[in-house]
């Protein structure tokens, strides 16, 4: 069997990649996708732990997590659309009406 920590490392890798994406990219869409990457890392963690603990709760958590991610993406895109209508850019750096 593949040891648990291999899965945990993959999960951590995805999470770290997602975090990097959120912190460095300026394109709002890519930031959103990076957040999805992070959530995927977390889901992988849940399922891996679930398998190695032998209980099904991790699967339930994953299901809930996927639903939450879906709702979040929907709202995030809606906000982006509203934003884009007023100011047709998706560059986060351009959103600096409010400073300091």
């Amino acid at each position: 069997m593949v040891p648990l920590h291999y899965y945990l490392l993959v999960s951590a890798m995805l999470f770290i990649l997602g975090t990097l994406g959120v912190l460095t990219r300026r394109n709002a869409l890519v930031v959103l996708m990076s957040i999805e990457l992070m959530m995927n890392g977390v889901n992988l963690s849940f399922i891996a732990y679930s398998r190695y603990l032998g209980n099904m709760e991790g699967h339930v958590y994953t299901l809930l997590s996927i639903s939450v991610a879906a709702a979040e993406v929907a709202i995030g895109l809606a906000i982006l659309i509203a934003l884009y209508r007023n100011k047709p850019t998706i560059n986060i750096d351009d959103f600096n009406i409010m400073k300091f």
């Binding site: 709202i75 906000i79 509203a82 934003l83 007023n86 100011k87 009406i97």
Partner: protein
Amino acid sequence: MINLSLLTPEIIVLITALIVLILDLLPWRGRKVLLATVGVLGTVGALLITMGQWDLREEAFYGMVAIDNFSVYFKALFLIICTLTILLSINYITRGGIDLGEYYSLVLLATFGYMFMASGTDLITIFLALEILSLAVYILAGFMRHSPKSNESAFKYFLLGAFSSAFLLYGIANIYGVVGNTNLKDIAQYLSQEAALKNPLFLAGMGLLLVGFGFKVAIVPFHMWTPDVYEGSPTTVTAFMAVGTKAASFAAFLRVFFYTLEPLKGQWVPVLWLLAAVTIIFGNTVAIYQKNIKRMLAYSAIAHAGYILVAMVAGNDLGSSSILYYLLVYSLMNLGAFGVVIIVEKKEEENLTISDYRGLAYKHPMLSAAMSLFLLSLAGIPPTGGFVGKFYIFSAAVSGGYVGLAIIGVLGSAIALYYYLRIIVYMYMYDPEKEFLDGPVPFFSAAALVITAIGTILLGITPARILELAHYSISYLGH
């Protein structure tokens, strides 16, 4: 094991939200006041039932939710916050052109989320409640669709919130991996074993939880876009999130860290010590440079979260009961201060800079008096509730042995005096340059101000009863 009847207050709030949504479809002219009335009736009804749940020690839904005094106290607080927000919103959203029924619905649904944050005894309940309230508030922040500032604040808030939720979820995953469950009771049981205290996976999970909660209560260095969000959102929403989201997040933060993760105190207390110190100093200092009153209040809110952290560090009974007390006072005085800002603010976001408050006292003496009361309370001057709250927190810190932190807190409050008093000076010592309001002070907003003002003063003069209540609420929580 389900005990649905115990969740009656939450169900009432939910049904009120749905009724408001449906009633919005009526083609009746006066329906905006009707919707607000329905909303207030719902929250007051839920409040009465919540207060009737005092002194229960029950669980519901297989241990996901607990109905104990801790949750009753907080739920009552949230319902009061919700009612006051609705009252303050009635005229504001008409002025702003956003009077849609969905507004009230979302405020009620966010309150629904708050209530589960306080009563959740399972990490997954807390997470879902957090998501519910966060989504509702993201939408509310962006409600003024025509205003670029509102859009921007909604977007920044969303990014920040989604990012922090991922951290929180990762923390939950790791804790699940170690404990096998996410129930707070099971976690506490796991921690009673000696070996558990050193498990690196658990500690990592705890660290991630701390990051997640830190974002939600907006302490430094997780405060990144909070001032922008506060400045750009419609002011009633700013008030709602400054008060409600913070209180709800602290309720869950308290339950998870203070009570469940208590055996690991040696790990997270030093971290919180540092965060509290940095937050207090940073929040108060930066607030001095703010010209926009909403931004100033945002940094002030950041600093106040720092004071609450001091009480969490203190770790004793007085510490946690002072947090409950402080959150009540904090909610009232902030709602009051924001209430005045809401009334004075004009269409298209005028009248929001501090210098716009020049001479307010000559045109609207009652309004200025109320504002002065709230500002003095925020600064912590006796005999207001704010003073008593800070007093309790710093006493708790000293009696817990954290004198240094208490000194930092007092220093911070001293710095804060400057920017709070500055507004009072502007209101009273300058001549008015323009008309402030387009008419008399709106009735419902005035009512809300009266309630918050009375609360602030009462809590300053006779705090003992509420403190006792707060103490009793947490008394048996540390099992």
